[in-house]
């Protein structure tokens, strides 16, 4: 992926691309899966920035990417023989090599940390997770942006459970409230509508939806 096309993609994301750049990116996307993936990830990052983290797609996506990375060929550089002997400094140094190329990847990880309100896990723990030896082993081959999803996955899997529960509770509460209105309405329809008691079957659906949670 050339820097030029990357630049165009970046313009496109910022709504600053001209017609020519748009065409170039679309054409390149057709030819290079890597670019399409990259575009996808930019959107993911934007979602993170805009606090759209609660979308379950994120989990699906990260799972898929993890799987893809697991299936990747072994890293091109030497494996770290003894993880315990590696000093944190050297981890950062090594991490820096991909951070340098993939500054956006780092910013995503940072954004996740920053944007996670009420996060129980302290940022230092997350940072440690991001640069943990295991991750480094997988990410060191340095393919720039490709590593970013790991950062996201680590962070979101590590610290956001409480947020999800909170969001779920609110959703559950809303749905339970709505059911009250649906029930009253269905009784009215059963008594006054053209379908006799049939519409009460709808209530079964509302309740099944509630039970499923």
């Amino acid at each position: 992926m050339s820097d030029q096309i990357r630049q165009s993609l970046s313009h496109l994301m910022d709504n600053e691309a001209d017609e020519l750049e748009l065409r170039r990116v679309l054409k390149a996307c057709d030819e290079q899966d890597e670019l399409a993936d990259c575009w996808h990830r930019y959107h993911l990052m934007r979602s993170v920035m805009h606090k759209e983290l609660e979308q379950p797609e994120l989990f699906d996506l990260s799972d898929r990417i993890t799987e893809a990375i697991d299936n990747e060929p072994a890293p091109g550089i030497d494996r770290i023989p003894d993880e315990g002997n590696i000093l944190p400094v050297s981890r950062w140094k090594q991490a820096g090599s991909w951070l340098g190329k993939g500054a956006i990847a780092a910013s995503v990880a940072a954004a996740v940390v920053v944007l996670m309100p009420g996060n129980e896990t302290s940022p230092s723990v997350i940072a440690e997770q991001v640069i943990s030896p295991q991750v480094l082993q997988q990410t060191l081959p340095v393919r720039g942006l490709q590593q970013s999803p790991i950062g996201i996955q680590r962070v979101s899997a590590g610290g956001s459970d409480s947020n999800y529960i909170l969001a779920d509770n609110q959703k559950l509460k809303q749905e339970e409230l709505i059911r009250g209105y649906l029930m009253q309405h269905s009784e009215y329809v059963a008594a006054n509508g053209s379908h006799g008691m049939m519409p009460m079957a709808r209530v079964a659906g509302y309740q099944a939806a509630g039970d499923a949670h």
């Binding site: 409230l177 008594a191 006054n192 309740q207 039970d211």
Partner: protein, 301 residues
């Protein structure tokens, strides 16, 4: 030629020989349908599907001197039951009564009977051929809205009894939103059909909402309807003779529904907060109407 003429005569003779039961137009079928509800015991297993979700209920219905008796029990999930005795409706979970309510605003217009002219003002009635449901021959009647302010229905009526075997709710673009269908069905004709309730309930006096789609009238005004354990709302029930929706109005509270739009099959829910003279109220529109119509009803407050 001669043969088909004889056949035609034979068919004609058949129609003439069973006058009360012959129905040839969609209107007649609907009249038969609304009468059938008062002339038959029926029971069966009813399947309800929407958006890939499927639920099964057992439904039995009878009309006697006490009024209508219905029982609807859910065959999936928690054993819940709805019992309707006359104008009383009872909700049971696992055999225990959790709610009991008196039905208000009974509206025979909503059952087509007598109100066919009103219905035809807003819907087109058409016969759409024949079909087969639960192993029984059926005629298909389509109720198509004349504007985009209401939903349409496709009904499969049992040829013999004119009872409703299957119903599909359609949006203004004729897309299927939900389906009710019997998968087993039995009926017994009552020996002495009960007299139809002919008294038509007039639209509620004085009650009005800021905006209503044409043809819809307020048939029910009910104060302090429990919508949850600790929420009460004033309820308005509206009908155009076929479609129905409800409007709930209550003071805004911390735990009120949030503003927004929800859709469950054919049913839409629009929640809107309205502030006027320093008091905030929550308006909730619930019903089987198009989303844009529900939005407009809510937005008019």
């Amino acid at each position: 030629m001669c043969r088909s003429f004889t056949l035609g005569l034979l068919l004609l003779a058949m129609f003439i020989s069973v006058p009360g039961r012959a129905a040839v137009t969609a209107d007649q079928w609907l009249v038969r349908f609304s009468e059938a509800m008062h002339s038959y015991h029926y029971n069966g297993v009813l399947v309800y599907s929407r958006e890939g979700q499927l639920d099964t209920v057992e439904l039995s219905h009878d009309v006697n001197e006490m009024g209508e008796q219905s029982r609807l029990s859910y065959l999936d999930g928690l054993p819940r039951e709805f019992l309707q005795h006359g104008d009383q409706i009872v909700h049971k979970i696992s055999g225990e009564t959790v709610a009991s309510d008196r039905i208000h605003g009974r509206n025979p217009v909503g059952r087509f009977s007598g109100g066919l002219e009103q219905v035809k003002k807003y819907y087109q009635l058409q016969l759409k051929g024949q079909g087969r449901v639960v192993g029984r021959p059926a005629v298909i009647v389509e109720i198509t809205p004349r504007d985009n302010q209401r939903l349409g229905y496709r009904l499969w009526l049992d040829k013999e009894s004119a009872l409703l075997l299957k119903s599909v709710t359609l949006d203004p673009l004729s897309r299927e939103l939900e389906t009710f269908q019997f998968t087993s069905f039995n009926f017994v004709r009552r020996d002495t059909p009960l007299k139809k309730e002919h008294q038509q309930q007039a639209p509620a006096d004085g009650a009005s909402l800021p905006w209503l789609p044409e043809g819809f009238d307020v048939y029910l005004v009910k104060d302090s309807v429990p919508v949850s354990e600790n929420h009460l709302a004033n309820m308005f029930g509206l009908s155009d003779g076929v479609s129905t929706f409800s409007v709930f109005i209550e003071p805004l509270r911390n735990d009120s529904l949030k503003e927004g739009v929800h859709q469950y099959g054919a049913t839409v829910v629009v929640v809107r907060m309205v502030t006027r003279n320093n008091t905030a109220r929550v308006v909730t529109v619930v019903g089987e109407i198009p989303l844009h119509t529900a939005r407009k009803v809510a937005a008019a407050f």
